[in-house]
């Protein structure tokens, strides 16, 4: 006896109620505050801001809490909120050369003006579980020094002085906005960089890694990696000049890559560029490598058919909100299309049997 399934609405309400209960977990354990997430899970917050394309640590912390720590779900919450906000205008380009650096390293020069500053990095930690952290109440304090006086110039600027690295032409065009216009291919570099900057960290990482393993290798050196705060300035029409509207932390990576040259132009290094919200250096380095790989056409390189060189492949699959949505939708009902396939396969099998029957009789 079959009864048509009813009650989808009640099932959904109950599922949501159960989800809320699971989110809270064991109530004998103190509830996590969004301030705790913001302060103590800062790198998760950074990733959510970067891939959510919205610089707001408090909202990102809230999203992480709501998503039970599922960062892609948290990114989705931020994106869905962001898209309802009006776009008031465009900031001035941020001046990363004036960044107040917490971290600044170069893999190409032993020392340079501004120095090598390790900053709060995992790099040289031994990955041994620190069981002391399991006990609460620690508030370690790092030794402090006077902040460096003066600016920290870009390493590529030094190479540029000798003409050793390709110069990026200045451009005053208003960049396209990926969140307001449909993606059009071929995409210009600013559109590609936007897409990479908000793309999935894992995807961009793997694409970058594939170039290192020989799928369109481009010999990247980390010319410079810097993390720190920059001022965001915006020209307000009523004032007629730019004012500072806030400060954000960014990670910037500039790679120095294999040189190109031709009969008319002497050999020269080329560049890859990564710029991401927050302290997100794995992503910024990956972005720079993939950016460089995608520039093969403008730099007159050969198309090796490598995935990281394929603009359409990279850009159309980098967004984890698109990817996860489409991937997970296959758990939705597909009775109708499956039924049509069932009928077809049965029909094809019936026909095949009637064709082969006479042979069997012989």
């Amino acid at each position: 006896m079959y009864v048509a399934v009813k009650g989808g609405e009640r099932a959904i309400d109950n599922a949501h109620a159960w989800l809320a209960e699971e989110r809270r977990g064991d109530t004998s354990v103190a509830e996590l505050s969004t301030a705790q997430i913001r302060e103590q899970l800062a790198l998760a917050v950074n990733r959510v801001m970067a891939e959510g394309s919205l610089y707001d640590p408090d909202l990102a912390a809230l999203a992480i809490k709501q998503a039970r720590g599922d960062l892609i779900e948290a990114i989705f919450l931020i994106r869905a909120y962001r898209t309802t906000l009006p776009r008031l205008g465009v900031s001035e380009p941020v001046k990363t050369a004036e960044m107040a650096c917490d971290r600044r390293i170069s893999a190409t020069f032993k020392d340079a003006p501004g120095g090598q500053v390790l900053g709060p990095t995992f790099d040289y930690t031994h990955r041994l579980l620190d069981f002391k952290l399991a006990a609460e109440g620690e508030a370690p304090q790092a030794p402090e020094a006077e902040p460096a006086a003066g600016l920290t110039p870009h390493i590529t600027g030094f190479l540029n002085r000798e003409g050793l690295i390709q110069t990026e032409p200045d451009c005053d065009d208003i960049p396209p906005d990926l969140t307001r216009e449909p993606m059009e291919l071929p995409a210009d570099r600013s559109l590609r960089l936007q897409s990479l900057s908000r793309g999935d960290e894992g995807f961009i990482l793997s694409m970058a890694y594939s170039t290192q393993r020989g799928y369109a290798r481009n010999h990247a050196f980390v010319g410079e990696l810097r993390i720190g705060a920059v001022a965001v300035e915006m020209e307000v029409p009523e004032l007629g000049f730019a004012i500072e509207i806030g400060e954000i932390t960014l990670t910037e990576c500039e790679t120095v890559n294999q040189f190109t040259g031709s009969k008319t132009e002497p050999a020269q290094f080329t560049r890859g560029y990564g710029l991401v919200f927050g302290q997100t250096e794995r992503k910024a380095i990956s972005m720079a490598l993939v950016d460089r790989a995608l520039r093969w056409k403008e730099l007159g390189e050969e198309d090796q058919g490598a995935p990281a060189q394929d603009e359409e492949f990279v850009l159309m699959h980098a967004d984890n909100i698109q990817a996860t949505g489409f991937l997970e939708h296959i758990k939705l009902p597909h009775y109708v299309d499956f039924q049509s396939e069932l009928e077809l396969v049965r029909k094809l099998r019936r026909e095949a049997e009637t064709v082969s029957m006479p042979e069997a009789a012989e």
């Binding site: 609405e9 969140t179 359409e312 299309d337 039924q339 094809l348």
Partner: protein, 293 residues
Amino acid sequence: MTDNAYNFAYLDEQTKRMIRRAILKGLAVPGYQVPFASREMPMPYGWGTGGVQVSAATLMPEDTLKVIDQGADDTTNAVSIRKFFEKTAGVATTEDTEKATVIQTRHRIPETPLSENQVLVYQVPIPEPLRFLEPRETETRKMHSLEEYGLMHVKLYEDISQHGAIATSYAYPVKVEGRYVMDPSPIPKFDNPKMSNCPAIQLFGAGREQRIYALPPYTKVVSLDFEDHPFDPSKAEHPCNLCGAEDSYLDEVITDDAGGCMFVCSDTDYCRARRDMGHQGAQIAAMEEEAGA
């Protein structure tokens, strides 16, 4: 944030205007995929965000909305989308096909013929009918502009040579007014003939792929085929077990673990209306007989 912090039907008016422009362009060039700046919606891509955006841009406060998934009003995602518009637009909703002015659908066209005062909004996962023959958008757009559809015919021909029949049973490609080859969304091919010469406006929204396309009323829509292998809008060769309908698309339901199964209308509203009118399928008749005995 409260619900009324959002605009009518969730999207802001500028976004709706952008979507309406894409819809109008789509109606002006039937079957052509119009790129549009799809927004992130508060439901996942792949779950009907394109259809939801098109519905949001189409709905007026006086509209009556029906949402179906797999032909049914009470499948979870249909329930969820209907609730979304009840909450954000406050429009009236119905399960009755004839009473609806806007119908958002996934994978089906209602059995009840549509009328001139209705808009049917399809949720589309992959708007490009050539995608699985050529994955590159840059190439397929060229193929459409040059009306270069040889690849599609070769695919259908290869089906016939391998299987003896065209082995596409849903999302069966159609040609619109003799020009664009169009993906009808993953409706069963049984539904394809309903698209042609339909009095209602048909709109197609693909959110993740950022495309909208449309069929104005009474547009000629032809399912691709060959003279010697004509299009066959087949369905399961059974009547509905509940309402006895012979002309409706059927879901197969497994009833026991011994190979037992039965067939019921996928269009739940159609089935209910027929039963209300006194039609009986095999199961209902058997039950009544049992009760009478």
